[in-house]
Amino acid sequence: MSELEHALRGGPEVDPAAATARAVERADAAGLVDVAYTQHDSPIGRLLVAATRKGLVTISYQPRGEDAALEDIARRISPRLLELPGRLDAARRELDEYFSGARTAFEHPVDWSYASGFTKKVLRATARIPYGGLSTYSDVAARAGNRRAVRAAGRALGSNRVPIVVPCHRVVRTGGALGGYAGGLQVKEFLLALEGADPAITAP
């Protein structure tokens, strides 16, 4: 390669971080950012938190890493998905308050547009289980309109993309066994202990 070609290679020096931040802010102001996300550190690990303008659409434990979690959001909701921590400030504050024990009810809205049918009914019913309380898969299925669809209720809960705020951790097996939890049973136990709910004692 000639010296001239070498001098040209790569282009002039730039600082993309600053320019990108300004561009993303402007895009948000123009209403072009369908989904904003950020990373949030919590006692149960790093959470990917995402919201549309209507409300939360994701709190992810990111078991397969950030890229996979983002691709899931892009596929489910919209690829116009950008890192915009500012839009998640209120949600993050509420999560911190929850984990410190200062908050027992989330005020931040959840965007329910992307759930439908029986799943949506199950998740909506789950959202009504109070802090420190417990319900069972069959009870939730009943509240969702089909007392017998217990396995379907389990699957619906497994598909919950906004755990903690939509408290699927408060749903256990009749008789007190924990059941399942997409984020791992230790996390379910942690959240229940945080809220002072003990399935063995408080068996519904």
Binding site: L4, L8, P16, A19, R26, L32, V33, P79, R80
Partner: protein
């Protein structure tokens, strides 16, 4: 499936910004970059899955740079505004971007895409919206002029 737009930015923002700085100078580049991102975001959901994202972004950026040039009234980029300093090359090559800025619009873009960006001629042509033959000509004429004026 279209990748999350954040990934598109992570992958291409640096290169697109360098392109705009070379074409418009630093003070206009920032605005052009914002305009590029806005346009890209607007069009993103309708984009076909097979689109070459890099080429697509550079095409938008090039159009925004032309818009900025038109607004500037076709005045050349002020020399003081020209990107200083080498990219990843050794010291002593400071003036190359000053010289690039003095090239006519088409040659400036073509030389940049080919030599700084490493684009194949076919892609250069697509970005600056001309035939591949015209793109080759622009690159060769531009590089010839640079060789005459540049001393390491």
């Amino acid at each position: 499936m279209r990748p999350p737009f954040q990934q598109v930015i992570d992958e291409h923002a640096d290169a697109v910004l360098r392109f705009l700085v070379a074409l418009c100078g630093r003070s206009d580049a920032d605005d052009c970059f914002q305009e590029t991102i806005l346009s890209a975001l607007r069009a993103y959901p309708r984009l076909r899955h097979t689109t070459n994202l890099r080429g697509w972004l550079f095409t938008i950026a090039h159009r925004k740079a032309l818009d900025a040039a038109r607004r500037r009234g076709r005045a050349p980029v002020p020399v003081a505004d020209v990107p200083e300093g080498p990219a990843h090359s050794a010291d002593g090559h400071r003036e190359v971007w000053t010289l690039v800025a003095r090239l006519p619009n088409k040659q400036r873009a073509a030389v940049y895409l080919r030599y700084a960006g490493g684009f194949p001629y076919r892609e250069v042509a697509r970005v600056i919206d001309c035939s591949e033959e015209a793109a080759r000509r622009s690159v060769h004429e531009g590089i010839k002029k640079l060789r005459q004026e540049w001393r390491p």
